[in-house]
Each structure stands twice: as C-alpha cells, then as structure tokens.
Symmetry: C2
Subunit: 666 residues, 2 copies
C-alpha cells in the first residue's frame, strides 16, 4: 500500500493520506466484539472464516486467510473461496494448544482479470495482439517477484508472448493452467489490503470440549458411617467413579473451614458442637486457600489422590472460591483486601436483608489490587504445581472481570492445558462475558429448562449463533445447590430423563453424586431447591450398592458418549419436529456423516408418551428412497424407519423414557 500525505491546498479542508488499496474486507466472522475477545477451539478443530470482500470496479479479486501461532512471526496463508453475494470463505486447522491469530488479505489481481477478459475476447473472435502484450508485461513483472527456476519460466513465457508464434498459440500459452497457478504464487500486492484486526483463537485440549464431570464430597467418602472421610477414602472411591466413565472428579473446597459464625446442619445459623461447617467458608488458623483441611489429610495425601485419578484416566478438579471466613489468614495479613465498616468491623457478605456473617467477600476496589491479583493467581498456580489442571470457579461474576481475564490468560500462557469452568448462575450477558474473558466451560440454565420449547430455544442460541465461538455449555442436572422440582417430584424416572438430556445435548456435562445415581430427591423444605441434610453442612454416608442406583445407566450413557464422536461436540445439534409437546427429538452428527445420533426423549416421568417424529433426512444425509435403521444404544433394540412418513415412538418412564439411536442406512 502506498500512502502519501496530501498537502493542504484549500484551507479548512482536512489533510489526509492517499490510500490506494482497492479491496474492502468487512463482516468478518467469527469476530467477537470487534476482535476484543478470542474465539475458542480445541486441537484438531477447524477455524472457518467468512468475510464480505469486494473492490471498486469490475476487476477480479483474490483473498487469502492468514494465520499463525501468536508466538511465531511467519504467517501461514490459505486461499479463500468465493461463495455468493461478495461472501468469501477460508479455513485452517489448529494443531497445538495456545493462542493463534488470524487475519485476511485481499487485492485486485490484474492477471486474473486479464485472463478472464482474454477468454471473453477470444470467444468473441476479437484481435488480441495488444492484449497479449499486456499479459506479457504482467508476467514479466511477476518474474521479478519470483526467484530461480520459476522466475526464469515466467520470463520465458513473457518473451514468447512478445514473440513470433501465432496469435492462437500465444493465446493458448497465456491461458495455460500451470501459468495461472504460477502467477497466483507471485501476485502484485502493491495495493493489497490487509484487514486491520488480528483476531485471536484460544486453542485448548479435547477435554475442554468433551468431558463428563462427577462432583463428590471427599468428607462423605468414609467407608464407615461415623468417620470424617479423607483423601485416602476418596482415592478408594475413584475406581467407582472411573468405572462409570467419568473424566473429571470435582471436589468442593478442600481448605481449612472457618469456625466464626460456622453454619450448622441444614444451614442453621448457629452450629452445634461437632458440626463440620461449609467447605465454602474458607480459611482458619490452619491456613487459607493453599492449605488443606486437616481432617481430609495432608498435601501428600492430596497428591496421591491426584495421581490415583490420573492412573484411572481421570482428573481432579478443584473449586476456586475467592472468599474468606473471618478466620482466614488474609483477614489479618491483608486487611486492605476487605471493606472496613465505620464501626471497625469487616463487611461480611450480604444480600439485604440477608446476612452471611461467615463469609467476607474480597474487595477488588482495594488500594492494593496488584498484590491481591498476584496472590489470587498464585493460589491457582500453587494447585497447578500439585498436578491440578481443572478448576471449577465459584461465583466468578462477583469478582473483578478484569482479574479473571488477566489471571486465566496469563496462567494459560504457561499452562495451556488448564481448564476453567465458570459457575456463574446469573444473567445471560454476564455469563457470556465471563466466557469471553477466558473461561473454558460454563454452567448454564439447563437445570431449570424442562420443556421442549425452552431446551430447543436455549440449545439453538448456544450452538447456532456466535455464542458458540466463545461459550462452551456444561449441562448439570443437579448440583449441591440445586435439586430441581422436576427431580423432587418426578422421582427415579425424572433422574433418568435428565441424565440422558444432559449427556447427549452437550458434549460436556456433569452431575453431583452419589446423590444423583441414588435419586436422592428430598428438599430441605417444600418449595426449596436445597437438599435436606445437605453434604454442604454435614457428613453423609451413601449406600452405593442400592438396587435402585442409576450407576449402570450412567455407565452405559458415558460409554455411548465415548463410542460416538457425534456426541463429543455441540455445533451439529439439530431439532426435529414431533407431534407431541412432551417429546423432544434432536440429532448430532460428525462432519463426514459417519456417525449419526438421534435422541428421542420424553419430559414426562409419570406417563407413557407416544408420538411421531419427523426426521429431517437431509440433515442426516439419509437417502429418502429407502428405509434406514435406528439402533437404540441404551437397549440394543433396532427399528426400521421409513423415509416416506414420520415414525412412531413410545417412551415409558419405568424403562428409560428416552432413546439414544445410532442411525444407519446400509
């Protein structure tokens, strides 16, 4: 691009630059908030980039997609393809964890224009003698940009176009495909335009996209009812979890629990002697966020647990809850990190008129923000050094957004394998913002979406809009804070339905056990979403071998997820019509159609629901001239479905009120 400063000749009118590039690039997708935020991918995925690209006049346009790892300086280049209506598309594959950047370049290509026009002139039988000389000049100029053998080839062709061969022969030479390919390697980029933004991609490992989480309280892992469970007990429990096919075992906070204002059983304001308190009231004389609650064991025990999980093909996820009990060492060491009230006390957490006196929130408006940020990041770095690469972050939306952006990006520069799950059950734009800031996965509204319309709308928003570029949903049917009314009232059948939906709608899902598989569904009081006798405030002991346990179903579902790549990503989900509002039908598929999954599920945990489903055959690549087979991966049953009509389904709660079909058309 040539730019010169225009000297001002007529006073009052702006001086500017003469810009001579001719191509325009706009409407670039994906591009999050004008490029402020990165998109997300995992290793091996494609980044498909589209843009509106055009130039003034009628000359032919060329466009390339440029990309590189942000630590490298050379751009890789891949051509973009014209689609329709000035829309172009290009793609590249990311192969390493870390950050990539991409941008676009476009230009008017005089050789391409000339070649196109020469074909038209020849077709019209015009004399092209001067045109051949124009082409010779373009080729000669390209030869000066080329080197070695290719430069010589171009020079020789240019000379022949100037030469004595017949016009017909010279025209054939000029239109040769090899010449075109060679010329395209040495374009004249003097007036090329390079897009003014470099857009970022955060590339993570596969588990960032495809993961099955299991939450448990280590202190309830004791094999005997009365004792406080330990990390060693928990390590024993891991084989049970691994056998069900989970990837990530997430533990509530493992740090010393505060004593001041400790909550009693069922969140009683005053604890009784012997009450163990909430693990989220972090910090005591024994230490804070880098310490371990003594009754769970030692750091060595914890590291054993981490190793044991790894040996079983799983990972331990820790809970990052940046808040303090009044006994936390920070309170005395860093009083400036808390709000002091005029009466000299420290401000506890509140949602007026409710008071949470056992919790001191951290004040990010502190005058010592730098010290605070570094200390909080050092907490995560400490646990990373103990082998933890997955964090579930508690209420990130009540902490500084900029802190998260800085902490996550700087940690991932050094440890790109780290996964951060955002537990922000708040308003949609806040949840999306946290995902943009860097959180790998996010909790969602799934827990409260129990109808076909709601789930269809929600999944469509998450997977068919730009949201999918930065927000990876992780569906949880329950958490220690949420026992939904559907589970309370729907019983065992409801748990099965929610399990199938969570595990097949999103490639990442999680549940809180063993209460989930044991179908524990008694709320603290009617209308509450809190569990009665919640593990948040007391030790529990579970009979894992109860005959009603959903353990076998969970094992089956996780096995289906592992065997079927269609279930390992979210973007391919499509909803198919059914004639019954209680029945939902959706499919997922691999890009090459080699694995097709069709889920049909009922929202009714009480009655048998029957209906007809109208599969969009085109979406699944099914030939509409012959029937196809659907194999229920839950039961092993196989049905032949017709392409000329909708197909009948019957969903019985006392079995599983859902089918997970693999679709095949031999």
């Amino acid at each position: 691009m040539i730019t010169e400063t225009v000297t001002q000749r007529d006073g009052g009118v702006a001086v500017t630059e003469v810009k001579q590039h001719r191509a325009i690039i706009e409407g670039v997708q994906p591009e999050i908030d004008s490029g402020r935020f990165a998109i997300k991918r995992v290793i091996g995925e494609q980044v498909v980039v589209e843009a509106d690209i055009f130039a003034d006049g009628y000359d032919a346009v060329m466009a390339v997609l440029l990309y590189r790892k942000s630590t490298e300086s050379y751009w890789c280049e891949t051509p973009m393809e014209f689609l329709v209506n000035d829309r172009w598309r290009g793609a590249f594959t990311v192969t390493e964890m870390g950050e990539y950047v991409y941008t676009l370049r476009a230009w008017v290509d005089h050789f391409k224009t000339w070649r196109r026009d020469l074909q038209k002139r020849l077709a019209a039988g015009q004399d092209v003698s001067v045109d051949l000389l124009i082409g010779a000049d373009l080729i000669d100029a390209a030869s000066k940009r080329a080197q070695g053998e290719e430069a010589r080839q171009l020079q020789s062709i240019a000379a022949r176009l100037h030469g004595e061969e017949t016009q017909f022969d010279r025209a054939q030479l000029a239109l040769d495909d090899n010449l075109y390919r060679l010329m395209m390697r040495y374009p004249d980029l003097r007036y090329a335009y390079t897009y003014d933004k470099q857009l970022r991609v955060t590339v993570e490992r596969l588990r960032a996209r495809f993961s099955a989480w299991y939450e448990l309280f280590p202190r309830s892992c004791s094999p005997t009812p009365v004792r406080h469970g330990t990390f060693r007990d928990c390590a024993e429990r891991l084989s049970y979890v691994a056998a069900m096919g989970f990837d990530i075992v997430y533990l509530p906070p493992i740090h010393p629990i505060g004593r001041a204002f400790r909550k009693g059983k069922n969140n009683a304001v005053v604890a009784q002697s012997g009450d163990v308190g909430s693990p989220w009231a972090i910090g005591a004389a024994e230490g804070g966020h880098k310490a371990i609650h003594p009754e769970l064991g030692t750091l060595e025990d914890f590291c054993y647990l981490v190793r044991r999980a790894r040996d079983l093909g799983m990972e331990i996820a820790l809970d990052i809850a940046f808040q303090c009990s009044p006994d936390h060492p920070y309170v005395t060491e860093h009083p400036e990190w808390f709000v002091k009230r005029p009466d000299g006390t420290i401000q506890y957490a509140e949602n007026p008129p409710k008071k949470y006196q056992d919790i001191y929130p951290i004040n990010f408006e502190t005058t010592n923000a730098q010290g605070l940020w570094e200390e909080l990041r050092s907490v995560m770095l400490f646990w990373i050094e103990q082998g933890v690469h997955v964090f579930r972050v508690d209420n990130p939306h009540t902490k500084s957004f900029y802190f998260w952006e800085w902490a996550i990006s700087s940690i991932k520069q050094r440890y790109p394998e780290t996964i951060f799950l955002s537990e922000a059950f708040t308003r949609p734009k806040v949840m999306y913002n946290l995902a943009k800031l860097g959180f790998t996965q996010s909790y969602t509204y799934f827990t409260w979406r129990n109808s076909k319309w709601e789930l269809t709308q929600y999944m469509t928003e998450l997977t068919q809009t730009q949201v999918r570029e930065f927000f990876r949903p992780n569906f949880w049917p329950n958490t220690p804070d949420i026992l939904h009314a559907f589970l309370q009232h729907g019983g065992r059948a409801a748990f099965k339905i929610r399990l199938v939906l969570a595990a097949t709608m999103t490639a990442s899902y999680g549940l809180y056990g063993p209460v989930f598989e044991l179908c524990v569904n008694i709320p603290r009081e009617p209308g509450s979403e809190e569990y009665l006798d919640s593990e948040k405030y007391q030790l529990r002991h579970w009979n894992l071998d109860h005959p009603d346990s959903l353990r076998d179903l969970m094992t089956r579902v996780n096995w289906i997820r592992r065997e079927n790549p269609a279930l390992q990503s979210d973007w391919s989900i499509r909803f198919h019509p059914t004639d019954n509002e209680q029945i939902i039908c959706y499919s997922k598929r691999t890009p090459d159609y080699s694995n097709l999954i069709l889920v049909v599920a009922s929202f009714d945990p009480v009655h048998t629901q029957v209906g007809w489903v109208g599969v969009d055959l085109n979406e699944l690549g099914i030939d509409s001239n012959r029937p196809y087979m659907v194999h229920d991966l839950l039961t092993g049953a196989t049905y032949t479905w017709q392409t000329w009509s909708w197909n009948y389904v019957e969903l019985r709660p006392h079995n599983v009120a859902a089918h997970i079909f693999r679709v095949e058309q031999p």
Copy 2:
C-alpha cells in the same frame, strides 16, 4: 480508573495492567463496523443509543451517554435508562450540521447501592446505625467533589447522619429524593469505565432525508423543436417543475462533449454529422469538468439558472461523472491518470467483449494519486462555489472507495450542506459500502422491484435493520438508462402506480421527466430497458401540455408529501397484511401519532383488484373499540373503517390504482 503495571513474579507469565473499573459496556447500537463509519442524521433528529451494561456482583450500576460536536471539546451528558436484560438506552438530539461524536460511561454507584439496600434493611426492621454511618461517609466524600452551596449541603447532611437524631429521622433524611438527585450529580467515578470507542454522527440538513428530484436534459428545453436548448431555456422550464412540487432539479453533465468516437442517435457506434453526442462523454477542446458545453450557454447563464431555481425554492443538482472523452484536456495534461497500453494508445472503457472507445476511465492506481484526488475534489469545490450544493455521482463504485471517503468528508467539513447521491446500481454490499463512506442518499433496486413480496422485503431491510443508520434510499421509477418493462407494458396506469409507490415508500424519490409525466414508454428494441430515441444521444422536444400528462397527479402527490410529515422519513414504515398478492398496504406515522398515513396500492395496471386489508391498529395507535376514518388524499373521498374486521378496497387502474389515506380517529 487506576492502572498500575504489575511486576512479573513468575517468569513467562505476562505483565499487565491492573484494571479496576467494574462496569462493562458492549453491544452498542448504533455502531457501524466497530465504529469505523459514522451514522447519519438530519438536524433535529434523535440519536437513540442502546448498550448492554453491567458490572460484577450485585452493586447498582449507573450509565450516561456522552456526546458533543466533534469541533468542541466539552462532552454533554445525558443519563441512560435501564430497559431489561442488562440493556440500557439513552438519547440526544442533534441540532447543527456537521459531525457529532458519542460514547458511553458506566460505573458502580455505591450511594445508589447503599440507598437501595438501606430501604431493604428498613423494610426488614433491621438496626441500621452502622449503615447510616456508611452513608454519611459516602455523602461526605461526594461533598469533596462538589463545590459551594451544594458541597455545604452535603456536608451538613453527612454531619446529621452522624448526629443525635433518631435512627428513623436519620433514615428518612438519608432516603430523601433531593439528596439522591444531589448525590447523582457528584458520583464517584474512580472506577468508571468509558467505552473505548467514540462513535460518529454525520448531521445533515433536512433535504438529505426528504427530497423530491426531477431529472431533465437542458438541451431539450428549447421552446421550439429544432434548436439546442440552453440554460436560459432551462431556467424558463423551472417554474413548470417547481409548480409540480419538486425540490431538486438534476441535470446530466453540462460540460463540453467529446468528438472522438462520439456516439450517434440510439447509441449508434458512428455519429452522423450534427449528432450532439452523450453528455457523459465529458471533455473537449473547450474544456473539461469545470467548463460548460458552449451550446448550453456560459457560466453566467448557469449561475442565473442556479439563482432562478433558488428563487423557486429548488436547487440544481449536477452530475459528477469522473471519466473522460479522448478529447478531455486531462488526457494530454495528465497522461499519468490513464492506463497506457503497450501500443502507446490509452485504455478505453470496456466490458469485454464490449468496447466504449468514447470513454477513458481514470486510473486510480496512478503514481500521481495525490494530484488526481485533489484535482477531482477541486471539480466539486468549483461547482460548490457556483452555488451548487447537490451532486448526483455517476457510477461511484468504479472509482476508488477511499477517494470518495476523503473527498466527501473533507468537502462536508467546509460545506456541510452538500448532498451526494450515489448512482451505484451494483451489488448490495458495494452499495451499502458507498453509503457508509459518506454518500448522503443512494439509488436502489426499486426500479426492478414490482411485487409485494419484493418491496416488503427490500423496504424492511432498508428501514428496520442497521442499514438505516447509514443508507438513505432514493426511489426512482425511471432514469435515462432504465425504462422498466412494467412501464413499457403497463402504460399510463403503470406510471401512476410507480409514482405513488416511489413517492410514499421513501422520503426521497426522483424521476426523469418530462418522459415520466408524458408516460413515454417505447424501448429502443424489444427486451431493452433503453428509451427509443433517448435524450442521451439526441435533442428532443416535449409537449408538456399533452392531455394525458401526469403533471396534476405528480403535483398532488408532492403536495401530499409536503403536508404530511409521516411521509418525510422512512423508519416508521410498516407493512399490513392484505388477502391479495396484487395489493400492498403500508403505513407511516410521526413519532407522536399526530400524522398517520396508510397507503394501499395495486401492482396491476390492467385489471381492477379488490381485496381486504388487515390494519395493525396498535401500530397506528388506533383504539380498537370504535371505528376510524380514512381520507383518500388523492381523491378527497372518506371511508369509515371498522376495527373488528379487515376492510375492503377496490383499486381501478383507470383512476389511480392506489389510495393514499390519512387516518384519523376523532
């Protein structure tokens, strides 16, 4: 905002800034291409700005919209209002031509939070003694930001909150509305976030939005058939045009016409002796773009024409066609502005295999781009100095985009009243891009949209999407280049339909006369959109008093446009259902509902069409409990329409196959 550099404690992890602002501003509308381009308004219009604004945690957020003329340095500030789902809205009115800028600021307001929470605590009957002290501190801090009497007031209230009055009295004092308003004037902006973009508004005069254009060839204005018309003849013709109610009289190029390769009548490749040539073949020995074709008269005559138009309340628009005949002085004075072929000739215009040897396109890839840009801009400045403030730009999409952006913006800095109409009949994204670059109004696809579905889609895209922020459509039923088949075959009734549609759908419209009012509809040959014996290549003489002239209807329609402010802008257009695909129904209204226009038009120039229209009463603010009146402003007829059913219409081509109703509900 406090920012500090974080020193790096753990090698390899990025150093960054501690950002402590807490509010996030995103999803700002309007914002064109990340703020790259300005939105457009005319004097007196509002700029309504919306954004997603939120902060971490649960504290109360405040937001303001900031705006100023770009030549001023002080920001004006207006509060934004919370809508729903973290969406906020603010607005300001632009009162002067030129450029405005706007941006947004948001912050967590501790006083607002504290006041909200105090109310909750009081409602719960809690002791608030410490809270009152916290409030006193906030008020005391604000007093230090205030001055004079207000500072003293705040200090005094802070002191009383610390004082001996009862808790009840002090709480009442703290919640006083006047105190709240006073506190809102002195917010704590330490952690406020100001949006990182300053977005631009180009403010123009009313005629940029509301204008009726009439195109005519001055050389056909002679009162006697044989003579070449002059500017003096044209000046005589103006009263005829003014009487019909047009605002802008647009003249094809008025410059000396080239002789080399001059085209003959009906675009014959070889001109006959006496053929006058095309006005778009600009430049001859007599001069170029700043000269006047001698047969039209002198510069003095032209200035007389401009004055005469002004006296009649109209303006003259000139055609800016940056291309040259081979005889143009630029060809010898600035050969570097043209492409030279290897045989020494200059490259003429082509659309291979077609050749336009009478036209040399300008080469914006010239090495003397600075000189070229300044010369071309000087052409427009020259005519501005002769009193011309409106330009119709011929094929702007075949010239440098950046040239237009620079030329228009720099001209408008000095002459903000200048109006540029883009004549780019090309692909949609290119047309939109030219509008973004600064063109005031744009030609459209209207000429080729002759069905209800097409026009509904098109007008919805133009007026109900972000396109409306930068693209102002100007609908033309005909031009010297386009005699659409609908007019060719539909005859006089078709002209009436297209007139009503153009003049009521868009606030700016234009037509090419007198062929339009005389319903001239013979194409050069079957299938062509060219006029037979087109004025582009020969002199014509028109009988303006022909009894079939649509002059009275045009006068009536322009009068209706002037009397009804609803028709003077485009954003309020809404389409109402009809039960007949040949009948379209749409409304426009003023923001205060004081002027309501409902248009019902047929697309059938041959048969009477009848049908029922279902008016959206809510859109027009009509009380559905009683009937309303529709007055046909074309005929004077009045009908009473029912609100409990659709209403019947009958559209007869031999009258006008359209109603322009003013809607009233007394």
